[in-house]
Amino acid sequence: MRQPARTIGGSPSLLQCGPALAGSILLGTLLVLAVLAPILAPHDARTLFEPLLPPSPQHPLGTDDIGHDLLSELFYGARFSLSIGLLSALLSTTIGTLLGLLAGYKERLGYAIMRIVDVFLAVPRFPLIVLMAAFLQPGAGTLLFFFTLFGWPRAARLVRAQVLSERNKGYVEAAQLIGARDRRIMARHLLPSAAPIALPRFIAEFQHVIVAESGLSFLGLGNPLVKSWGLMLSFAFRYPSIMVTDLWVRWALPPGLCITLVVLSLALLSYALEEQAIPHLRAWKSSATLLSQAAYATRSERPRQKPGREGLAP
């Protein structure tokens, strides 16, 4: 009961490896299904058949109220839902990391960037995206733009904090002394130190966008012409007798479960990342280290001191 909270180093136990493995397998499978949609899907998602067909060999999940094959819709829906999540997470993390690097390294420019970041962070983003969607009835491009617009400041702030703590370390000063240019220092020396912070941010962003996009579609604010899981759910929910017949098992359950599985796999991955990268991420990880700056320092140093202390004691 009284050993230190977590052991650092040592061989990773199943509790540490399991989540990463499960998460990557799950996410990988879903991504492969999305990429292979044209091959795997029994029909084109836009072809119309007879409405509300029961399951049959031609239509393993049957058809919806206007005759779309539900299984094909599921496959093609994966493409949109996953790609918008992946793309906007990628864009906002990249932009955020670059601006965070600049903001951390160049003091004056950094001040200006951080004021912008502060404003963005003070604005609750989901209500604003709902408002925007309600008014602009966005296509995929606009949606991507807005998710990125509200996504980058979080990454920028975290990366800047990291760069600030690295900037005055010996290796950076050494690089400056031998005359390396700013661009090289940022790209070769500071960027690698920021990567462990950008990656969890990417995962969190992916999660947020997947859920937000499906939520928007569910509220009827998505683009009705694009196939996505949220939209499938939305149409299913609006069908009058969806819940009293077993239609929901074929129509609402699969897309809902898919969204859940994506979020779950990302949660597992980020948990595994947090656990794996302890010594480095400790100072960054908010949840475990809220107490104070001073508390983090002592806590993250203790495991390293401990063997020495015990060695000296006898």
């Binding site: 009961m1 009284r2 230190p4 909270a5 977590r6 509790l15 004021r115 502060d118 404003v119 962070l121 003070a122 604005v123 609750p124 989901f126 209500p127 604003l128 709902v130 408002l131 925007m132 309600a134 008014f135 602009l136 009835q137 979080r154 702030r157 975290l158 859920v211 499906s214 939520g215 569910f218 509220l219 009827g220 604010l221 759910l233 929910f237 819940m243 009293v244 929901w248 609402a252 809902g256 969204i259 859940t260 599985l261 979020v263 779950l264 949660a267 597992l268 948990y271 990880k285 908010s286 949840s287 475990a288 280290t289 809220l290 107490l291 104070s292 700056q293 001073a294 508390a295 806590r299």
Partner: protein, 333 residues
């Protein structure tokens, strides 16, 4: 502090301006919903050109944009949020009628998920590495991944339709006018069970993880070792020494998460046809009721910003070691 105040004001102004200009970028206008000429609406009203311009003039929609904007700002300063076109009532009256239900839902759910999350999180940290801890972790991951509207649908299907234990929607039974106060309260509570359950189940994982991590951190502190060392019983160490300190981040998290819960309740309300803000926002979207939407979002965003500010201040107050802006690090993660 001065820059902080200016920044808050700037953010507010940005929000209010966005709130004003976004609806005006939208295709169509509020009258096209009333008007039969617009495809996609099924209103039986036909507007002549004359009636249209008269209505536009009546609502001030024919004025230049700048003037409309200044009028809007002036109105807000006087507490006037405008007149809802769809509900035909002052925005604030409609809003307040709906907000009550949402606050009831969000308040109840928050009380439950925070209690449950912190108790189980603390327990999990205390029993770290045991099957109980692992089981709770897995269960939390599994539960925390459901989108709230999907979980709400499943709850309706299982408990509302299949087992018929709880009502499938609404906030109270109709025709209960002459019931006693007690019976009415019971009826409202009965209708709240499923929506609150949906919110609790989706929100609970955040508090649980935070509490577990905070508790794990605290349990490694020197003063805990001291407490054990001086022979304090396990229970006392946990509840008197560890718990209050681990609760610190949770307290601020509650304030910050209220905004998330509010958005989550929007989806849940839609599924349960609960007469709160969420369903109202959806109706207002459909009807393109600008003033109503603007009012709803202004209130939502003010509420969330107030929560964030409260979290900032509360954190500085609860933990004097950190400056007043300590909680920001929490939020940005």
């Amino acid at each position: 502090m001065g820059t902080k105040a200016i920044q808050t004001l700037l953010t507010l102004l940005t929000l209010v301006s966005l709130n004003f200009f976004l609806p005006r970028l939208m295709p169509g206008d509020p009258l096209s919903y009333l008007d039969n000429n617009d495809p996609g609406t099924d209103s039986a009203m036909l507007l002549t050109e004359e009636m249209r311009s008269q209505l536009l003039a009546y609502y001030g929609l024919d004025r230049p944009l700048g003037e409309q904007y200044l009028r809007y700002l002036g109105g807000l300063l006087r507490g006037d949020m405008g007149w809802s076109i769809y509900y035909n009532a002052p925005v604030w009256n409609v809003l307040w009628g709906r907000l009550k239900w949402t606050l009831l839902l969000v308040g109840t759910a928050t009380a439950i998920y925070v209690t449950l999350g912190s108790v189980l999180g603390a327990f999990s940290a205390w029993k770290r590495g045991t099957p109980a801890d692992a089981g709770l972790l897995v269960a939390t991951f599994a539960l925390g991944s459901w989108p709230s509207f999907f979980l709400a649908m499943l709850l309706v299907i299982a408990f509302g339709l299949h087992w018929q234990l709880f009502p499938v929607g609404g906030a109270r039974s109709p025709y209960l006018l002459d019931a006693s106060r007690w019976e009415k309260a019971r009826d409202v509570a009965y209708h709240m069970v499923l929506p609150v359950a949906a919110l609790v189940l989706t929100q609970f994982s955040g508090v649980y993880m935070l509490m577990r991590n905070a508790m794990l951190g605290v349990l490694g502190e020197d003063y805990i070792r001291t407490a054990y060392g001086k022979g304090a019983p396990e229970r006392r160490v946990l509840f008197q020494h560890a718990l209050p300190n681990a609760l610190l981040p949770v307290v601020t998290m509650i304030a910050m998460r209220l905004g998330f819960v509010l958005m989550g309740s929007m989806f849940v309300e839609v599924v349960f046809a609960y007469p709160g803000m969420g369903t109202m926002i959806r109706e207002a979207c459909m009807a393109r009721d600008y003033p109503m939407l603007q009012g709803a979002f202004l209130i939502t965003m003010l509420f969330i910003m107030a929560c964030n500010l409260a979290a900032d201040l509360l954190y500085g107050f609860l933990d004097p070691r950190v400056g007043p802006s300590g909680a920001r690090e929490v939020r940005s993660a």
